[in-house]
């Protein structure tokens, strides 16, 4: 109290321009989401990630309009080049008109694959498949992982112990190995590969969720809602879950990149996407024997995977940094 009184006696300094700006900002009501969004957009890595992702989403949505050919039909079935020799067209090198490819040849920016399909169209359509893989796989893992983590954290005691020990055992196996076993049990195919990678990713989300629940469970506002007669489920879903979302979002963004990588790996060993689906991993597997003659068939889908995963990783890093109050400048 004494210090307060002493300070009241001092005449206030005139506000500097920066202080004035800060005061203007303070006039707007503070919103967690708006602040977070502003912080995310400020991060250099998040900017890159968002731009890349924007491009990939645009490609995925507009694939049917921007792809010059059908991704699954050999170009020889198109009416205009019926008289071309099949063998000559196989593994056709990229032909780009502005880079000196003769105008009388049809343009194939990334060449043709072993089945005479336009590689460029397949890479474009692959964006659809990969984004779908990423979101669905991680979505599955988040839902199950969150439920397990929430129950374990909220119930505590024996339930917690059993659930989390089970998660530990799953984490102690190399993830790709466990996924291969699961796919072998379920049978090869894209859906089963996604399911396998989804199952393998559950423990990470369960752990993140449990940790959040454990810390939020002890806060005063949870005690307050319990005192007001809120049910267990109500506390869990209305009070705890919304406040535990941020670490989950970070983990999910990073997890999507990981899921795309791992499903591509399963497809590469033949357990995931099956032909003729234009999936980047299986495209690489199909043409890898011709590595020495047509490396472009490996390089383009490979670059597509790397850039997509990179975009999600950069965005995930950006969100994490933006949400970390210690890093706020």
């Amino acid at each position: 109290m004494d210090t307060l009184n002493a300070e009241e006696g001092l005449s206030p300094l005139p506000p500097t321009p920066e202080m004035a700006d800060a005061l203007v900002e303070l006039d707007q009501p503070a919103s967690l989401w708006r602040d977070t969004l502003r912080n995310i957009v400020r991060q250099r890595s998040a900017q890159f990630g968002l731009v890349f992702l924007g491009i990939f989403f645009a490609v995925a949505i507009t694939a049917p309009w921007i792809a010059p050919f059908d991704p699954n039909i050999p170009v020889i079935d198109e009416p205009y080049n019926q008289d071309v020799n099949r063998q000559e067209l196989k593994y056709l090198k990229p032909c780009i008109h502005i880079l000196g490819c003769p105008e009388d040849q049809p343009q194939h920016i990334m060449g043709l694959d072993g089945n005479l399909r336009d590689e460029f169209s397949r890479v474009l359509y692959g964006a659809r498949v990969s984004l779908w893989i990423g979101f669905v796989t991680v979505g599955f893992a988040i839902v199950i992982g969150t439920i397990i983590g929430a129950i374990a954290g909220y119930a505590g005691g024996r339930t917690d112990n059993i659930l989390m020990r089970f998660m530990d055992v799953m984490l102690s196996f190399p993830s790709l190995l466990l996924a291969i076993v699961i796919v072998t049990v379920l049978g090869s195919g894209l859906i089963n590969a996604q399911l396998a990678i989804g199952i393998v990713s559950i423990p990470v989300f369960a752990r993140v969720m449990r940790a959040s629940v454990l810390s939020i469970r002890e806060t005063d506002y949870v005690t307050a809602s319990r005192a007001l007669g809120e049910t267990g489920g109500g506390i869990l879903f209305r009070r705890i879950l919304p406040n535990a979302l941020t670490p989950l979002i970070v983990q999910a963004t990073l997890g999507i990149g990981g899921a795309i990588l791992e499903v591509a790996a399963l497809s590469f060993v033949g357990l995931g996407a099956q032909p003729p689906l234009a999936e980047w991993g299986s495209m690489i597997a199909a043409d890898r024997k011709f590595l020495t003659t047509v490396p472009t068939l490996i390089l383009f889908p490979g670059m597509a995977i790397t850039l997509t995963v990179l975009a999600f990783n950069l965005l995930g890093d950006g969100i994490r940094d933006a949400l970390d109050p210690r890093l706020n400048r």
Binding site: P174, I180, V185, A264, F268, L291, I298, I305, V309, L314
Partner: protein, 358 residues
């Protein structure tokens, strides 16, 4: 210290037992009949009955498990259903390759990762830092199989006739002879554990070359290992570099670093003795975790580089329903993990006395 190691070893026993049980169950959950997987079209009920009797597959599951456990305690991992050879023989033949690959990949990842992270942290926001972090970001985002194939394209196709050319696949140039260590040392009749150990070491070709002073073999074997090691090691490298950078930055901002500088210590000394030593704890964790991830990478890398290692063996065993091989290999790998975790724990204790005493 010894007590600490002993306590950790004891606590590993129930984990191992759990893994033995889980692996046994997991191998049997995989649908498909090993007899049909082995003989395919030729399988008849009579043939399969004889087949199942021969491998003890007609016994009840619990009895199979007890028989398996009993044999295991005598060091017998069983006989492969598909190859008709003892699993231990297959391991002696194929595990060395994966160990060799892991050693090179880990050395590459750790040395390069820690150095890059160190440079990044000390020259924060410099072009070197930004460049390192860009490389690290690309490193974690590139699938192992894409990186392996790209390395093949660069070093075996584009640089084919230069001094940088590296072999695209295999372990040795065809025609290169490998002499078992025991034979080179003039003790070819050695048997027992020592004989097995020497056989095992003989199959780690670079170790064989060093022990038998065989220069050409070393160069050939090592040059075949470079590309696969880079392929497996790049993701860990990127993670280690990022971890070293962030951990060191945090430590360098601590009060005791300012104190050390205030005492007038040389900067080198501050970084090495006060900074790095404290920053290494999380890095050691990451290195330990990445060894665990190597098997996933090994499955893909061994496929791409056409290497008959343990990752490839396990993958083929799962596809061929070779229960005995799946069990044996997974068990040995799991044992390896437990040992690695032990080493990681012990190195914590070495780096941080508080853990040893606590």
């Amino acid at each position: 210290m010894l007590q600490f190691v002993g306590r950790r070893l004891l606590s590993a026993i129930p984990v191992m037992l759990g893994i033995v049980f889980l692996v046994f169950v997991m191998a049997r959950v995989i649908p498909g009949d090993p007899c049909y997987a082995t003989y395919g079209e030729k399988a008849t009920p009579e043939l399969c009955a004889a087949f199942n009797a021969r491998y003890g597959l007609d016994e009840p599951i619990w009895k199979q498990f007890l028989i398996y456990l009993g044999a295991l305690l005598q060091g017998d991992l069983g006989t492969s259903i598909r190859f008709g050879r003892p699993v231990t023989d297959i391991l002696v033949e194929r595990l060395p390759l994966t160990i060799e690959l892991t050693i090179y990949a880990l050395s590459f990842a750790t040395v390069a990762g820690v150095s890059l992270g160190l440079i990044s942290a000390l020259r924060r926001n410099s072009p070197a830092d930004v460049g390192t972090m860009v490389v690290a970001n690309f490193g974690v985002s590139t699938p192992v199989f894409v990186l392996g194939l790209v390395l093949q394209i660069i070093f075996a196709v584009w640089l084919k006739d230069t001094i940088f050319a590296l072999p695209p696949s295999g372990r040795l140039t065809p025609g290169t002879e490998v002499i078992p260590i025991a034979e080179a040392w003039g003790i070819p009749d050695l048997s027992g554990p020592l004989g097995s150990l020497l056989n095992f070491l003989s199959n780690i070709y670079t170790a064989n070359a060093i022990l038998t002073l065989n220069g050409p073999l070393f160069v050939d074997a090592a040059s075949h290992m470079i590309l696969p090691a880079i392929a497996v090691g790049t993701i860990p490298l990127a993670i280690i570099a990022r971890m070293t950078r962030s951990s060191l930055l945090e430590v360098l901002g601590a009060d005791f670093i300012r104190t050390a500088r205030a005492k007038g210590l040389r900067e080198r000394h501050v970084i090495r003795r006060h900074g790095m030593r404290n920053a290494m704890l999380p890095v050691v964790t990451v290195v330990g975790l990445s060894i665990a991830g190597f098997l996933s990478g090994a499955i893909l890398t061994e496929t791409i580089f056409n290497l008959a290692g343990i990752g490839r063996t396990l993958f083929e065993a799962i596809q061929g329903r070779d229960y005995i091989v799946i069990q044996g290999v997974t068990l040995v790998v799991a044992l390896g993990y437990v040992m690695i975790n032990l080493v990681v724990d012990v190195s914590y204790a070495v780096l941080d006395p508080r853990i040893r005493l606590g």
